[in-house]
């Protein structure tokens, strides 16, 4: 269970989060949508303590992570897996080493056990046989699948996805979405996903939250979002240039 309460964050005097309130029950996959540069990634980074808020709290399983010490925060982070926007794979490691890295560093598993888990994980994401390649040798879609494999290798309770499908063609986008659905079914994690993929996100998310001007404008099931009467939400999901959301074109 994640509870975001009145979260505020500014950078150089510019307000990015302006009182975000959101509750994410255990086992749910929630997608956060909103304008580019609207603070979605900033919000995601607060969930794992990569950023500290100016005000407000992020409560994970009953503990306010904004008040934890470094050690306590590290313990909390072990519950999380993160799929970063560009994958954030370690350039100097092979794909095998990348996926094995959290297991080698955080567990006492033998090399044989690690090998077995890495192979299984690569099979899950449909990438067997690329163990010895380096991240630079992979396509964007493959990197995201490897990043997903690395995030899930420690079987985290909560997985954060920062735009896992940005820059992918529609087929690869659906493949990643299917992978997220399948792995979620297998591992049963709670998920928070930043996405711009409308309407594709409706098939993956249990709930969708719309972040606008630093606050959650609306949160509801995909059905509720599709039928929302909120003018801001309607403009965003239809991609219309006219409406309350200012665009470079309309300004």
């Amino acid at each position: 269970m994640i509870e975001i309460v009145n979260l505020h964050k500014s950078f150089n005097g510019q307000k990015v989060l302006n009182g975000v309130n959101l509750s994410i029950p255990k086992g749910e996959l929630i997608a956060i949508i909103g304008e580019s540069g609207g603070g979605k990634s900033v919000l995601l980074k607060h969930l794992i303590g990569l950023l500290r808020p100016d005000k407000g709290s992020v409560v994970v399983d009953g503990e306010d992570i904004t008040k934890l010490s470094r050690k306590e925060l590290d313990l909390m982070r072990e519950k999380f897996g993160v799929v970063f926007q560009g994958g954030a794979l370690f350039d100097s490691f092979t794909i095998y080493e990348n996926i094995a890295f959290p297991l080698r560093e955080k567990t006492r598993l033998s090399e044989a056990e690690i090998h077995e888990k890495v192979e299984e994980s690569l099979e899950d994401v449909g990438l067997k046989g690329i163990e010895e390649k380096y991240p630079a040798e992979l396509s964007g879609g493959m990197k995201k699948r490897v990043a997903l494999a690395r995030a899930l290798i420690t079987e985290p309770k909560i997985v954060l996805f920062d735009e896992p499908t940005t820059g992918l063609d529609p087929i690869k986008l659906h493949a990643i979405h299917k992978l997220i659905v399948d792995t979620r079914r297998k591992y049963g994690f709670t998920g928070v996903m930043i996405s711009h993929d409308i309407p594709e996100i409706y098939e993956v998310a249990d709930r969708i939250a719309f972040l606008f001007e630093g606050m959650i404008e609306v949160a509801g099931t995909p059905e509720e979002i599709v039928h929302s009467e909120d003018r801001i939400v309607r403009q965003f999901i239809t991609g219309s240039l006219s409406g309350p959301i200012k665009t470079d074109h309309s300004m």
Partner: protein, 255 residues
């Protein structure tokens, strides 16, 4: 009043940056003594900073020694003291030129690469990925590099000195006709253990300074390719200045 405010703002920003750098160093070194130690990463860094710098150190050292011998020979010949070429070359290299020039060489070859590497890791969220895995990036990225520098800088300086002395030997003895015995025996007479110790202290200090600055600049790089490029330039310039300033300070302390 306006100029005073600008000056005050500048001084405060410099002090803030210095404090930030100091906290970074202390925080990083606090992990040097807490297990688990990353020996494999340390070996990889020794290879990168040390082994891969050997060719350039060899070339720089040999030509520095050759130039020194040439200049010193023609200067000393005017006062009839050619026999002192050996000690002059050795003392210049061991006390000053070896530590300073090898540190500047390593800054250019490895320091800039380390800043760029850490900077790219920062902007591509690899450092965030480490933090998200509950692994401290200072322990994994910074400390192995700093420890490697502490090991490697004195060794590369020693290599620089030895190669430089033989470069001087080649010019002084083989080309300018000094006797081999004079070159080395005078050197043994004039070079003391104290000189070697001063050179070693300097190289250790330069190792810490260079890696501190280069790692810090990479770790807190700006956004995008421009940010990394700026951080790399700043790291090289700041390291070079600090090498020369600290060379003077250490030199004057041990005179």
């Amino acid at each position: 009043m306006r100029y005073l405010r600008i000056l005050g703002t500048w001084v405060l920003s410099v002090l803030r940056e210095m404090g930030h750098m100091l906290i970074f160093l202390v925080h990083s070194f606090s992990f040097a003594f807490i297990p688990p130690f990353k020996f494999r990463v340390l070996l990889r860094e020794i290879r990168f900073i040390g082994t891969r710098s050997m060719t350039v150190i060899f070339l720089m050292g040999s030509f520095t020694g050759m130039v020194l011998a040439l200049q010193v020979f023609y200067t000393l010949r005017k006062v009839g003291s050619e026999a002192m070429v050996g000690p002059a070359v050795a003392l210049s290299l061991i006390r000053e030129l070896g530590p300073v020039l090898s540190a500047l060489t390593i800054t250019g070859r490895a320091g800039s690469a380390l800043t760029a590497e850490i900077g790219i890791m920062r902007i591509s969220e690899q450092i965030d990925a480490l933090t998200a895995m509950a692994l401290n990036p200072l322990r994994y990225l910074i400390i192995p590099k700093m420890m490697a520098a502490i090991i490697v800088f004195p060794l590369l300086t020693a290599l620089y000195d030895v190669v430089g002395i033989y470069g001087g030997y080649f010019v002084g003895v083989k080309m300018l006709g000094l006797s081999s015995g004079t070159y080395f025996s005078e050197m043994k007479h004039w070079v003391e253990m104290k000189d070697i110790i001063i050179g070693t202290y300097k190289s250790l200090a330069f190792g810490v300074l260079v890696l501190w600055v280069c790692c810090y600049k990479g770790f807190y790089t700006g956004y995008g390719a421009e940010g990394v490029s700026k951080a790399t330039t700043e790291a090289v310039v700041m390291s070079s200045i600090l090498i020369l300033v600290s060379d003077y300070v250490i030199g004057s302390l041990f005179l």
